[in-house]
Amino acid sequence: MSDRKKVLLVDDDADFVEMNKAVLESRGYEVATACDGDECMQRVQTEKPDLIVLDIMMKSVGDGMFVAQKLRKDDATRQIPIIVVSSVNQKPPFNIGPDEGWLPVDVFIEKPVAPDVLVDEVKKHLGEAGTRIERGTP
């Protein structure tokens, strides 16, 4: 089995996915992709990613948020770090950030994000367990 870490990139913006897939692969990560919440849930089962980069507004306005909630409710997926990259807060009245209940993710990054910033966050959340937000049993 490959010891390369696998990142699942979930975004309905094909350009975002394509560019960041190339960036992450160039840094030695294996990358799987999905374009909405439903596909993300399927890929999590089949690909068993080590980390998820997640958009919020996809098929529906809160698609990614509901995916994060589902992933953290399930024992099998609770420990997977989630990095949200989204422009949802630029759309009034939405105003969100990491939250134990509503958005149980490790970090929230506003779009646009520079490739190096995303890579740094991926590295941080794959390497240092102590940086994660608290995850109790649901």
Partner: protein, 566 residues
């Protein structure tokens, strides 16, 4: 030397406090408040009570205790402060020491120069991207506009059903306000409990109280869609598929600090704008106060967001002093003290709950629950259910929670001072508090709580929480539950989980009815578990070796119980 120029961005609580304090210390300084809203110094914590009809005059939210509305004229005449309403700060030029502003009514731009700047930009409601959230009938309760809207809903009296999304402080206060307006209210909380500053078994008691009104609480479920008709809300769909018909939804799932202006100016931002104990940001000429900052938790040492009106005023006072006199005074941080009214209940906490302490990695905890009366029974005393958390080694008090019909607020305040003063359970055991029957029983419930925890720490009492007893019953464990109350009390209210009633007064004569196996687990309790404790001592003296006391008694039992019809 030219007069010092102080600019304050934000005119709600912390900002005006900083400006007023600065003025008191320096009559010459040029002081300007920039405020986006039309009002100043709003008592925003009072909004639910205005909505709920506790008072009718809207101006009471924005006037001084003598009844003068705090408007720009008031600030200029009484305080000598220039207050610019409907003015938004759009950028800070730290090099030039200027703030670029825009008058919202005219679109006019202006630049205001500062020597010292105070950021009090507040917080905004957390608004989750739920489909349909733009429908008419969905609101927050964060601004005067929101309060006006909900008050109008009350006065019109047309709506019959509402939901409150979020079971935090604002959520439960809003629930009460709407229920008092004759509306049937449902709180939908995503986490397994409401009021997460409380431990689950204590929060459950508050939930039960809300459910006893024209309101109900749904936990562990979330709104996934708002469904509308002709642009108006008509139902909320939950994660489990339930559809709740509703005409009004108040979203109260917390607030997020407004840090953009600070971040754009290159100031350090964490869970809020980062400040030191002088309320100074990473730029020594810029201070920050109120809901936009992160503060240090004095027990965990960790930064956290504490958007409370009382702290905002204290922080504003410190910043106001420091911008005039140099960094002479400090705001050390917070222990997270809070209280709320939930119908006839008071619910609050100070310091850490047992769960929060565990989350913060504080090990070696000891905690106990106890029930006490706020006054003697002959003075109409009402119960308070309390939980105290301490360091098991040092005895240092780490947290205190109290809920119930009695005056819990006074005990929370006392415990807050004990925690701030680094006191131990041992210190509280002999506290000299004011006593007279109209105000408290001879042994104040807080002291009684300390006695219970001390008994537990010394091994005199083996306590077991209601939650642990419930878990044992659910698991089918072979335990004997011994109710030590009188038959009348038993008739009125009982757990009905297969317990045995032996009144304390009869226990010594009826020891033969107890299991011959002296190692069998017996859990004793009464109404508040004082008689339960005494029953346990009787059993232990008679050779029973596995006897526990259910902490807090029947009153702290948060699960279903049988209550006689009155």
């Amino acid at each position: 030397m030219a007069d010092t120029r102080i600019v304050v961005i934000g005119g709600s609580a912390a900002g005006p406090k900083a400006a007023a304090k600065a003025r008191r210390l320096d009559q010459q300084a040029e002081i300007t408040i920039v405020q986006r809203e039309p009002e100043f110094s709003m008592a925003s914590c009072g909004y639910p009570y205005y909505v709920g009809g506790f008072f009718d005059d809207r101006n009471k939210l924005i006037c001084t205790p003598t009844g003068v509305v705090r408007d720009p004229k008031f600030f200029l005449n009484a305080k000598g402060i220039t207050a610019l309403a409907r003015t938004e700060a759009v950028a800070i030029d730290r090099g030039a020491h200027t703030v670029a502003c825009r008058r919202l009514d005219t679109g006019e731009s202006l630049s205001i120069a500062y020597d010292k700047l105070v950021l009090a930009t507040g917080a905004s409601p957390f608004m989750p991207p739920i489909p349909g959230i733009e429908l008419e009938g969905i609101t927050t309760l964060q601004s005067m506009r929101d309060a006006d809207y909900l008050r109008r809903v009350r006065d019109e009296g047309k709506l019959t059903r509402a939901i409150v999304v979020g079971g935090g402080l604002i959520g439960v206060e809003t629930c009460e306000a709407l229920e008092l307006a004759g509306i049937e209210v449902t709180i939908v909380e995503m986490l397994p409990q409401i009021l997460t500053f409380l431990d689950p078994e204590i929060a459950k008691l508050v939930e039960n109280h809300i459910n006893s009104k024209n309101a109900r609480v749904i936990t562990d479920n979330a709104v996934v869609e708002f469904i509308g008709q002709d642009g108006r809300l008509k139902a909320a769909k939950l994660a489990d598929g339930t559809e709740l018909p509703t005409e009004l939804a108040v979203v109260a799932v917390g607030v997020r600090p407004n840090t953009q202006l600070a971040a754009d100016a290159g100031l350090d931002v964490g869970r809020g704008i980062r400040i030191n104990e002088f309320m100074q940001t990473s730029d020594p000429d810029i201070y920050a106060v109120g809901d936009c900052i992160e503060v240090t938790h004095l027990l965990t040492g960790q930064p956290f967001h504490a958007p409370y009106g009382d702290l905002a005023n204290l922080e504003g006072r410190v910043a106001g002093q420091n911008v005039i006199q140099g960094n002479g005074v400090k705001f050390p941080g917070s222990i997270g003290t809070g209280v709320c009214k939930v119908f006839d209940y008071t619910a609050g906490c100070t310091g850490l709950s047992e769960a929060a302490a565990a989350r913060a990695g504080i090990g070696n905890l000891v905690a106990a629950v106890a029930t006490g009366l706020d006054r003697p029974p002959f003075m109409g005393g009402k119960p308070i259910i309390m939980k105290m958390v301490a360091d098991a080694t040092t005895g240092r008090l780490l947290g205190f929670q109290a809920v119930g019909l009695g005056d819990a607020s006074k005990r929370i305040a006392l415990a807050a001072m004990a925690i701030m003063g680094k006191q131990t359970v041992g210190d509280l055991v002999n506290a000299d508090l004011p006593y007279a029957p109209p105000y408290s029983p001879a042994v104040d419930p807080l002291i009684m709580m300390a006695h219970v925890l001390e008994n537990k720490m010394l091994g005199r009492m083996k306590g077991i929480s209601a939650g642990e007893v419930k878990a044992k019953l659910d698991a089918g464990d072979d335990i004997l539950l011994l109710d030590a109350r009188g038959p009348d009390e038993f008739e009125q209210m009982r757990l009905d989980v297969g317990e045995t009633l032996i009144p304390l007064g009869a226990l010594r004569k009826r020891l033969g009815e107890l299991p011959q196996d002296k190692a069998k687990e017996i859990v004793c309790y009464c109404k508040i578990s004082l008689r339960g404790y005494e029953a346990a001592l009787v059993l232990e003296a008679n050779g029973h070796t596995n006897v526990k006391v259910m902490e807090g008694g029947v009153l702290a039992w948060p699960y279903a119980k049988t209550v006689a019809a009155t």
